[in-house]
């Protein structure tokens, strides 16, 4: 506009020179030509003013254009700078919204609109209680204060969509100050699927627990059955022995019965205990030694048992293996080392040293023993001991005389699967 104005100045000036000059010549044809002077100067002044104005305005226009361009460039840069953040906010799974301290919506992202069913425009006049039916006006204000005063504020609540449907949400809230004004920023997540999954998992877990309990019961039943069957075998052997006069046969039956009992005891511990796979060695050995004592020792024989048993847990198999060895060695001492009217001592030590299990069994018998005979495998008892130590425990056994017979067994604690 200003440019046009200055151009018109120049054009009028030029027209003035061309036409006005001629008119004046006609008008003042008889007058002194010197009177034209002021008009010509005025016209020239007009032209020069127009030129100057044109130049200034043209320059100003360029400056304004440059400022405008710079401003637009800055705007564009700013827009491209915040674009990723806006994109992130709008495409977040969570509903993100800013609220004033009285619970009025100031900003909502796209997810909030999708989740709640309202437009961004509609949210401008809404308060938190419009989407959370658990709040009234006072409750909403209190909630905002709670968020302000609580670090990592969290709440599981329900939200009501525009169509009236209600769904569960998990909300986290944070207070922040921007340009001197306090705001609440809240993130709400739809947890319908999570709660469904949780319920399904709980249901599956309950079914698994039920199934596990049934299996445990069946397993206990099996161990009970095995133990019962062993007891039946033991009873049959006892009845058979009772009908014989042969003392050797009776003793063989007695020893067989106590071997069966050693195994049956493991199954008894399994079905009576809390764990169906592992056995507390301490408890098992104590009971085993007590039972062997009752079976083999007469009431007149005094026997002290020194038990030093570390708290160890063995599998059922390992327990039977160790139990069988202890049974054979204990019965050997009870049969050959101990006598009435003397102070008999039986030591059983089981300890774990450097990933190995050390078993020491010692009696204080004073009869002469040929150590080399113990290395042989003449009797069933010795065959059992050596076979179990060599092939099942993968350990070493050593006999020596130490104020009686002492047997040391070392084997790795880790069981081979």
């Amino acid at each position: 506009m200003a440019k046009k104005f200055s151009l018109s100045f120049i054009i009028i000036g030029i027209l003035g020179i061309i036409f006005l000059d001629k008119l004046l010549k006609i008008f003042y044809v008889n007058n002194d030509i010197s009177q034209q002077g002021p008009f010509t100067v005025a016209i020239l002044f007009m032209i020069s003013t127009g030129i100057i104005l044109y130049v200034i305005i043209n320059h100003m226009e360029k400056v304004i254009q440059r400022i405008d361009n710079s401003y637009n460039e800055l705007k564009r840069k700013d827009k491209s700078r915040i674009a990723p953040y806006e994109f992130s906010l709008d495409n977040s799974v969570d509903s993100i919204h800013w609220l004033s301290l009285d619970g009025k919506f100031l900003y909502v992202n796209e997810s909030t609109c999708k989740m709640e069913g309202y437009t961004k425009e509609e949210f401008k006049d809404m308060y938190i209680e419009d989407i959370d039916p658990t709040f009234d006006r006072a409750g909403a204000k209190k909630c905002m204060l709670d968020i302000k005063n609580t670090e990592n504020w969290r709440l599981e609540t329900t939200h009501k969509r525009k169509d009236g449907t209600i769904y569960p949400v998990e909300v986290s809230g944070h207070a922040f100050i921007f340009e001197g004004q306090e705001y609440i920023c809240a993130f709400a997540r739809d947890i319908t699927q999570r709660l469904e999954d949780k319920n399904n998992i709980t249901k599956i877990n309950e079914e698994l627990q039920k199934s596990l309990a049934e299996k445990e019961m069946l397993l206990k039943e099996i161990h009970h059955r095995v133990k019962n069957n062993m007891e039946i075998i033991s009873s049959l052997l006892n009845m058979q022995a009772r009908r014989s006069d042969d003392i050797n046969f009776k003793n063989a039956m007695k020893q067989s019965r106590s071997r069966i009992h050693t195994m049956a005891l493991v199954h008894e511990f399994l079905y009576l205990g809390e764990n169906l796979a592992y056995i507390n060695v301490q408890d098992y050995i104590k009971k085993l030694v007590q039972d062997i004592k009752e079976l083999y020792i007469s009431q007149n024989t005094k026997l002290d048992v020194d038990l030093d048993l570390e708290e160890l847990i063995f599998s059922a198999n390992r327990c039977i293996q160790v139990g069988m060895i202890l049974h054979e060695l204990c019965v050997n001492s009870l049969k050959y080392a101990f006598e009435e009217n003397r102070k008999n001592l039986l030591c059983i030590h089981i300890n774990k040293i450097n990933e190995n299990i050390h078993i020491k069994i010692r009696d204080n018998g004073d009869n002469e023993i040929d150590i080399t005979s113990l290395q042989k495998r003449d009797s069933i008892g010795l065959q059992l001991i050596h076979s179990i130590v060599d092939f099942q425990l993968h350990g070493k056994i050593d006999f020596k005389i130490n104020k009686g017979l002492e047997c040391n067994i070392i084997f790795p604690q880790k069981e081979e699967v």
């Binding site: 009970h224 019962n228 007891e231 039946i232 033991s234 009873s235 049959l236 006892n238 009845m239």
Partner: protein
């Protein structure tokens, strides 16, 4: 000395028989063996009063612990 009378309640016959023989060896008299709850109640209702009942806790074909 009084002869104590013992009743055995056990559903495994072999175990029951062995127990009866063991008691006999030890000098005790047994009133007999019953294999289930009904038979036991039947014996007890016939004015027979055992001094001791040796009973298996879990008897098959009976839902409750006897």
């Amino acid at each position: 000395m009084k002869k104590y009378k013992i009743l055995i309640v056990e559903d495994e016959p072999i175990i029951a028989l062995n127990l009866q023989e063991t008691l006999y060896e030890l000098g005790y008299e047994t009133l007999g063996i019953t294999y289930n709850r009904c038979k036991t109640m039947e014996i007890l209702s016939n004015n027979v009063a055992p001094d001791l009942i040796l009973m298996d806790i879990y008897l098959t074909r009976s839902n409750n612990r006897n």
